[in-house]
Amino acid sequence: MTTELERQLRAGMERVEARDPSGLAVRAYRRYRRRRRTIRALAATGTAVAVAGMATALASARATSSQETQASAGVGSRVGGALAQVSGDMLYTRTTYTPPGSTGRKWNLTIVWSYHQRIRSTEYSLAGRPYWDTGITMVAGPWSIRAVNVDYPARTVMRITGGSDQGGLTVPAGGPVAPPPAYCSVYMPPATGSNLLQGGASPAAWAKYFKAVLACGQFRVAGQQRLGGTDTIKLVDVPSRQRGYRPETVWLDPSTYLPVAMEYTDHPGTQTRTIFEWLPPTKANLAHLNVPVPAGFKQVKQQQLP
């Protein structure tokens, strides 16, 4: 039994038409990636600073074996002292993804320049053209962020301002987020490593990061290896059921104990490799932190974060 209203309603619904939805999944994926990237970049600035305060949380750290413990502890203890030898605290990294285009990426190269509270990350398409270009500045004083993102395929530019008084993106007003209570119980690399990378961490932050992951047994020393004509110390991620495991390897410069290269397997068949260079903050190098906005690109509204 049905009413006239219900009959008409159902008949009307039958007449509703919809366009071909092809391409919708791709558009949704682009937006998903855009949001994720923005969120990660913004979160990373917090993470990088937070990591610097984590060393004291590592007292109860464990190691995998006595030999590895000693080797790892040796590296960890030397990291801090090596910082004075670093020629510059401006970081340049070059990340490549193998095979190109894997995991649906439209880019296969990421260049990151970072210095103190500024970072610029540029993705290059498979054809070698800029794909995304993002600049983030942590504004001094209030815990807030200014960011600009240039989307080359869409020919748009989005400016983001965040802070406790902005009503836009917000970062904890009290400063960096607190370190996790059990540092080693959560999966860190490559998440933390890549966050540091994106977040423009200083040599000191990197050093403390490696101290932390060695101290808690998340990484172990796996010998020495010659890489690009330089002897390096090789660290490998230690599998842990609790944290999960994605194989990650880091090569450290034996003279500074800062990373020379980092490599991890995102998922079977896809490798992400980053090469590190520490540079002096010359005028020419600092100019790389600026994100140019090509003429004619349309300004779009600040993205709403979920």
């Binding site: 049905t2 209203l5 009307g12 619904m13 007449r15 939805p21």
Partner: protein, 177 residues
């Protein structure tokens, strides 16, 4: 499988099942454009949780679609702003809006609050039982029943369609709970 690889899976899925899904989204959201946005929003969530989704993504996608719609999607304010615009003469309608304005009742459906609209679409278009609709909306069957009842009452008021009864359309009210 990574979200990046999900793109191909979902594109294939949409090629096969996308039209009915988008029709649902159009009814839930009120227009072609809003329906596409709604479905796109649901797809984004699918990517976000892709690693947890096993097998056919349709069930998850539908559930997400309904949740987003029932929660008022972006915001209640946006919805109210839309209502206001619908009443304004001289607002240039999207050409695609015209499609679902061919039927007065479907057009009036847009004037219902999101939960009532979602409940009606689930019951009359998807032909879910009250219990099934309650399950996907995350509420009790009683809430669905009440939302449908209020929604129909409101549609009756808006359309002026009399409360006549037909006995010859066995599935018109959806399956029994």
């Amino acid at each position: 499988m990574e979200p990046g690889q999900a793109v191909m899976v979902l594109e294939e899925f949409l090629a096969d099942r996308g039209q009915p899904l988008l029709r649902t989204a159009v009814m839930l959201a009120g227009s072609q454009q809003a329906g596409e946005d709604l479905l796109q929003g649901a797809l984004e969530r699918v990517y976000r949780h892709w690693r947890k989704i096993e097998g056919n993504p349709e069930a998850y996608l539908r559930r997400t679609l309904y949740h987003l719609a029932a929660d008022g999607w972006r915001s209640q304010n946006r919805w109210r702003a839309k209502l206001h615009l619908f009443g304004q003469a001289g607002i240039a309608a999207d050409a695609t809006d015209h499609i679902d304005q061919r039927d007065q009742l479907v057009r009036l459906l847009r004037q219902l609050p999101p939960r009532q609209r979602t409940a009606i679409v689930l019951r009359y278009w998807e032909e879910l039982t009250e219990a099934e609709a309650a399950d996907v909306m995350g509420c009790s069957p009683g809430t669905v029943k009440s939302a449908v009842s209020r929604g129909l009452q409101r549609l009756r008021e808006l359309s002026g369609i009399p409360d006549g009864v037909h006995n010859d359309t066995p599935h018109a009210t959806g399956r029994a709970s």
